[in-house]
Symmetry: C2
DNA sequence: TATAGTTGTGTAAACGCTTACACGGTAAAC
DNA sequence: GTTTACCGTGTAAGCGTTTACACAACTATA
């Protein structure tokens, strides 16, 4: 059934290579190569000739050749779930900037929260010979880590931190973060607390946050009932709908703790639509501190996560590893609780 | 005892190559290569042996070798100004997804709106042998385009459209878009219009939008005075400050037209801070329709730009070019005007 | 039966670079 | 005036693929 048709061959014209430069300059390719890496390693006379030849021929070195010969691609890979979320795009951006400053280039893929796709992308990256790899989260099959192991390249998992982590990681404990949030929420008098969260099965961070919530509640003798959790996609509208579902069941919560700011913004909008006053009647808490959080009305209480810092720290770790420098492989970053107007004391009945 | 280990050098151990597989399977490397590209091209017997050998050895093909021999890297590059803005990250994401589905991988760099940096990054991409390249905007020195010309790879400029464009492009006319906006703004009775915009010198899209504004005003016998324009960085706060500057000078405008939604959001926040009622006393118009636009209070009027569509169209164009298919090289995408509550008729004095 | 295709496989020469090694020349040490 | 060291350069063997070409073994055709 598959109709095989011949794809027109691309032009195969040789491009200007190092040997052309060598010939034009009347030197050996070795000398040109040396010049490329450190002009001071060749004599001034030769230097000038090579320089002239390069300019003359518009020579652009071909890194595939270099990669083959030197076993270094100068490429670093990153696989993130999505770029729709400012969280990851900010992280990727600083990651890339730091790599670039060190002479590396970024190969980027998204996994769309699909483990299988993530695995395939990782494999492709290894085929491309990436010198290092940045990942998000740690939950993946052992064959994934075994593959990395065999490739023996440094890698780091981000948005995860645990001092006993088996793998290099850079982030914070989502569990602790959320526990602290809920501790405070309870302190503010809230007893009936609703949760709007992403789907925990695909994402270890979501699961950890839920765990933190449960832990805090338990310590205060409370329990997170099933009908107080609404799972949702990461969109504004879905966040609003999640609130709607929560409100349909039982007594209205006095506080909603959300898995991220997108969901919280949706909740805020839905609350306004229903004339529920925030925070008087309903307190709302986000997570992540996107730029928009402070622009919402009322400004959203949330947890600030250092997206850029994570990208930078990940780059630093990988670069250190590549250079053979000793570095801490479990990096904890600071988070900050931002209590803004969307969250207040529980209304007294 | 005497363990002689040179730590500084990176491990140079040969990895499993195609020749190892060939040896293990008792066939030639050519056959393995053929198997890799199309298993049906080799006999069943040989197929099984090769398959077994590959699994046995955990063989991962090395694309640098392939790139060298076949003159195709299966890598496509993209250079965008930043990923902080959802505009570009969304575009990059769909671009990447479409490439991936076609077997290509994305090499990504940011230029931070710096032409020089963009040029250097482009050069690095060519060194990596990208098969194609996506860029944002068209304003760059001729040496840039000459370099691309010499590399003779397909490329496309995005967020730009003109039916006479010299270069392949995919986007819309910012000039026309803004002209239509202002036409309507004037129709709504506004005569005193302020503009908050990014810096036009670094960005051809900004310049085009300003041109559109001026053109529209001129047709209505109006003029954009210098003191009605505030230039600003692309941050919420800077947008607010820009409004502040505008308000200090002369009579207060009845409408503010912004270069993007971030600036508009900043303007909205600043207006609220000053107790200026939107839209009764001041109408505000954004550009771009970020997700947040509809969540703001009041919901922001803006121009919806198809970010994902641009990424996809760019990918499609490049893939078509790579496969030698004939395609339109100037692609216009639709924009949509979203009139929400932040914009209304000019208040009658 | 002779001839011409077809199919499956192997051989070996690239592809563009790096780098171990060799070598001649000059400078420093004796 | 040797010897020793070092420096700058060239030679050539890879690095892991692809692919043009050759060839043997079939199959189809006349």
């Amino acid at each position: 059934m598959a109709v095989k048709h011949r794809v027109s061959r691309r032009s195969r014209s040789r491009s200007v290579g190092i040997s052309d430069v060598a010939a034009a300059a009347g030197v050996s390719t070795a000398s040109v190569s040396r010049f490329m890496h450190d002009p001071m390693r060749v004599s001034p006379k030769l230097r000038d000739r090579v320089e002239a030849a390069i300019k003359e021929l518009n020579y652009i070195p071909h890194r595939a050749g270099r990669a083959l010969a030197s076993r270094q691609s100068l490429i670093v890979g990153a696989i993130v779930p999505t770029l729709e979320n400012a969280i990851f795009s900010r992280q990727v951006m600083t990651f890339q900037q730091n790599l670039r400053d060190a002479g590396y280039t970024l190969l980027l893929a998204t996994s769309e929260y699909d483990p299988e796709l993530e695995f395939r992308q990782a494999r492709v990256m290894l085929e491309h010979g990436v010198d290092a790899l940045m990942l998000v989260g740690q939950k993946r099959g052992s064959e994934f880590y075994e593959m990395l192991e065999r490739a023996s390249i440094p890698f780091i998992t981000t948005w995860i931190y645990s001092k006993n982590s088996i793998h290099p990681c850079c982030g914070f404990s989502h569990e602790t973060a959320m526990k602290r949030v809920v501790d405070y929420v309870v302190e503010l008098g809230h007893r009936n607390i609703g949760v709007v969260t992403g789907f925990a099965n695909v994402n270890d961070r979501v699961a950890a946050r839920l765990k933190g919530i449960r832990k805090a509640l338990k310590e205060h003798g409370l329990e997170l009932m099933r009908d107080k959790i609404a799972y949702s996609e990461y969109t504004f509208d879905a966040g609003g709908e999640a609130l709607a579902r929560l409100l349909e069941k039982g007594e209205r919560p006095t506080a909603i703790v959300c898995g991220n700011d997108i969901l919280a913004a949706g909740v805020l909008t839905e609350a306004r639509k229903r004339n529920i006053k925030v925070p008087e009647e309903l307190s709302v808490m986000g997570f992540g501190d996107l730029d928009i959080a402070a622009q919402l009305d009322p400004p959203l209480s949330t947890v600030r996560t250092p997206k850029a810092e994570i990208g930078e720290a990940a780059a630093t770790y990988l670069l250190n590893s590549l250079e053979g420098r000793k570095t801490e492989s479990r990096i904890e970053v600071d988070i900050k609780f931002c209590w803004r107007d969307s969250f207040g004391r529980a209304s007294k009945k």
